[in-house]
Every structure is written in C-alpha cells, then in structure tokens.
C-alpha cells in the first residue's frame, strides 16, 4: 500500500466523524431488527458511517437486552435479535380439540377392559365385526391399551390389556372394578329389548363401516 493511499484514507475518514457510541448502538439495534438475516460485524460497519465500531456497539447492545423479552444473539459469525428462549411458548398457540372416541374404539376398548388379556381375534368374535387397524392404533397411541403377553396358542397372537393411564382416566383402581353385567343391567344400561322403533344404539354413535353391520342386525330383532 502506498503512502499516498493511506493519507487519502485518513483524510476521508476525518471528514466523517464516527457518531457517539450511543448512536452507534441505536444503529446496530435498528439494523438487527429490520434485517431478515443475521448481520456480520463487517456488514454492520459497512452500513454505518465511517469509523463506526459495530463490535463495541454490539457489546453494549447485548448487555442492554440481557434478561429482556428478546436478546441479541450470535448466530455463527453474525448477529441477530431473537425471542428469549423462555418465551418461546408465546409463539405457539395450542388449540386442543376434544373429540369423542368413536363407537368402534369405545367398544374395542370396553372388550379389552372386560376381557383382558384379549387377542384381536377374540375382540372380533365378541364384537361380531372385524377390528380396524386404525382403532387399535388409536387406542395404543392414546396409551389406554398396550400389548400384553403373547398367547401360548398356535400363531402366538399378541394380546391387549388396558394401561394405568386408562385406569386413571376412568377413575378405576383396577380393571376388576368395572361393573359386571348384572350391575350394568341394574343401572339400566342393559336393555333386553331396544325401545320400539329405534335401533339399539346408545349415545349418538358415529357411523362407520363397522356399525353398518350392527344396524343390519338390529333390524332382525324388530319385526
């Protein structure tokens, strides 16, 4: 580098005096806020006036935002303003949708609860219809049922049992506490005959393919 060039640079710099540090801090703050990408110190210096010291301004700014709702953070070799980690939850809006379990799922669950450990084939035999994969998967996912021991019968089928979560949800100490058929009848939950003109459906019961069979059956009983 020649001396002439150096002198030129000096002259140029002295023409534009660097703004006071407080002002530089404001500038860095505004740039970090408005820029979509993290900004490097070099880029900050380029965008600010000659003689600015973005590195120092960043030290001050970082301190200023300590403990605030947003922080000045280093991302690689660049800087950005980011939401304080503990407030991340504000950026999420959880909407919980409560849906009633389908009739197929309730029946499957009931059979598992009353007959556990029970195989899929047994569930199907009791329900009189095949049990869809989705129904069992849903109950497994909800952690209301889990796999029990395999049956020591040909094919060694898996069995299903209810979980502690299930008991907790239904306020039961054990599956044995489930009311028996006699009690169900006493509670009016077992009707011997469907009321005339109605199908033997309790609750609203969402119609899925499996239920169609049932409806078909119920027609047999009413003539």
């Amino acid at each position: 580098m020649s001396e002439v060039t150096q002198t030129d640079t000096e002259v140029e710099q002295s023409l534009f005096e660097a703004p006071p540090m407080g002002e530089q801090e404001r500038m860095v703050e505004a740039i970090l806020f408005a820029t979509a990408e993290p900004v490097t110190v070099r880029e900050l210096n380029d965008r600010m006036l000659h003689g600015a010291d973005a590195a120092e301004a960043l030290v001050h700014l970082r301190k200023r935002y300590e403990g605030r709702g947003v922080n000045v953070v280093k991302v690689g070799d660049a800087w950005a303003i980011r939401t304080a980690p503990d407030l991340g939850f504000l950026m999420q809006k959880e909407t919980v949708e409560t849906r009633k379990l389908s009739r197929a799922a309730i029946e499957t669950l009931a059979i598992i609860a009353y007959h556990q450990p029970v195989t899929r084939a047994e569930i199907e035999e009791i329900r009189g219809v095949s049990v869809s994969r989705g129904t069992v998967d849903q109950l497994l996912e909800m952690e209301w049922i889990r796999f029990g021991r395999r049956r020591m019968t040909p094919g060694r089928p898996v069995t299903f049992v209810v979980t502690q979560d299930f008991l907790d949800h239904f306020g039961l100490e054990s599956a044995r506490d489930l009311p028996g058929l006699k009690e169900l009848r006493a509670a009016g939950l077992l009707e011997n005959r469907p009321p005339p003109g109605t199908l033997p459906q309790m609750g609203e019961g969402d119609v899925d393919a499996e239920e169609e069979t049932e409806e078909g059956q119920s027609e047999l009983f009413e003539d």
Binding site: A34, T83, T95, E97, T98, R99, I106, G128, M142, N192
Partner: protein, 262 residues
C-alpha cells in the same frame, strides 16, 4: 422543416408551440375543476380572494383559444364553459328580482369553495406523502416469527361411554337367545296351519282351546302366545268362510265348527 422559408418557419413554429402547449396542458389537467384551479393561480391571490368573474373570463378565453386552434375539448370542459358563461352574465348583470334560483354570488362562492377544497386536498395529500413511510423511512421486523398453531386432538370417553359400549355388545348377545325365544311364540301362521289340518274334523261346535298345540300349556308364556295366535287364526278362518264361531256369553268359551256347504 429545414426546407421551410424563414417567414413560414417562424409562424408555424409559434403556432405549433402554442398549440402543443395547450394540448399538453389539457391533457395534463384532470378535468375542468383542475384547469380552473391552475388558472386561478395566475391571479396570484389567496384562493379565498380569487375573482371568480375573472376566472370565468380566463376559462372562456382558454376555450375560445382551443376552438381557434381546433383542439377538441372533452364534453365536460364545454359544459363548464357554458355554465361559466351563465355565471359571468349573472355576475355582470344587476340582479333580476323576478329570476329564480341562486344568485350569481352564491354560485361564485360555491365554485370558490370547490377550488379551495380541491387545493386543500392536494396540499394534505402532499403532506401525507411527505411523511415517513413504512418500508422507506422506518421499517418493520425483518425476521418474523409466525405464531405456530399447534392443533392437538384429544379423544375422550367417559366410563359411562365405556360401559354402554360394553353393554351394547353384551346386549347383542342377549338378543340371540331372544331370537331363539321365538320357540316360545306360537305365530298365527303356525296356528293357521295347525287348524287348517284339524277343522276338517270339526263338524260340531268345539272349544277353540282344544286346537291349542300340544305341550304349550305348561309354560304360561307359551300358553299366552298359543292362545292369542289360535284365536287370531280362528278369526282368519271365519273371515275366509271356512268356519263359524260362536260365544254364548262374555268370557264364555269360544266355539268353532266347520262351515258346511262349501
């Protein structure tokens, strides 16, 4: 152009420039009101003190000039010219008490108001546009974090749902014996079939209870069913004209005999 004589050149250029200026101006104006506003500026006074009479004269002169130069003016310029000519005459002539409608002064005042209002709107529009603007002078956040919507579906069921579900299945099982319970039901068809075979022998009055199926008298449920169906079958046979029925008294036994002559 270069071939034109000096004289001809001068006149044509002057004419042409004048004509072009007017064409450009008319094009540049946004209607007669805008033109009037421009003309009023030549008076170099506050818009509130503008002389509407003078303005009307200026406008009419402008229109005359345009006509002379065969510039086609849009219809609304001509409508305005006609109205200003009318206004001018009203302002110049002493008020005629027999004449109806607003006075020339009223009309002039309203025109002045319209001009002032248009000018005011232009001024504030300029002030508005001179303000600091978002994305030019001040800026919004560069990185935005969208609020993530986490949708969680929770399935619920109550113990009652569970028990009802189980009851539903078990009830279905109980229905099966109920189907077999049909054994305890003696249908009318069964009764008819039985009686059709027997009435051949019923030449004399016989109690219909004697047509009851065998072995149905032990179980009261079966008994009831068989009685009902036998009675119904008797009525049916009577309707068909195959038998006659009689009952001597209320609650007395119902008797049946084959109808002869058939």
């Amino acid at each position: 152009m270069s071939e034109a004589t000096n004289d001809g050149f001068d006149t044509t250029v002057a004419d042409r420039l004048a004509a072009e200026a007017l064409i450009v101006d008319v094009d540049g104006f946004e209607g007669p009101l805008d033109l009037l506003l421009s003309l009023s500026r030549t008076q170099k006074v506050d818009l509130r003190k503008v002389s509407v009479l003078q303005l009307a004269k200026q406008y009419l002169a402008f229109v005359e000039q345009a006509k002379a130069l065969r510039i086609e003016l849009a219809a609304d310029y001509l409508v305005m010219a006609a109205w200003l000519a009318f206004l001018k005459s009203r302002l110049l002539l002493p008020p005629d008490p027999t004449e109806e409608g607003p006075s020339g002064e009223d009309l002039a005042a309203h025109l002045a108001f319209q001009l002032e209002r248009l000018q005011a709107m232009r001024d504030v529009a300029a002030r508005l546009m001179a303000r600091d603007q978002l994305g030019r002078d001040f800026f919004a956040r560069g990185v935005t974090q969208q609020v993530e919507r986490v949708r969680k579906v929770e399935y619920t069921a109550t113990l009652l749902d569970l028990m009802q579900g189980y009851a539903r299945i078990r009830t279905r099982d109980e229905f099966r014996p109920f189907v077999m319970d049909r054994d305890a039901v003696f249908t009318m068809e069964q009764a008819l079939e039985r009686m059709r075979g027997l009435i051949g022998f019923a030449g004399t009055w016989t109690d219909i209870s004697s047509y009851m199926p065998d072995g149905w008298d032990t179980d009261p449920v079966k008994w009831r069913s068989a009685t009902a169906s036998t009675f119904a079958a008797s009525l049916e046979l009577a309707k068909e004209g195959k038998v006659e029925l009689r009952q001597s008294d209320t609650f007395a036994p119902i008797e049946l005999r084959r109808r002869d002559g058939r």
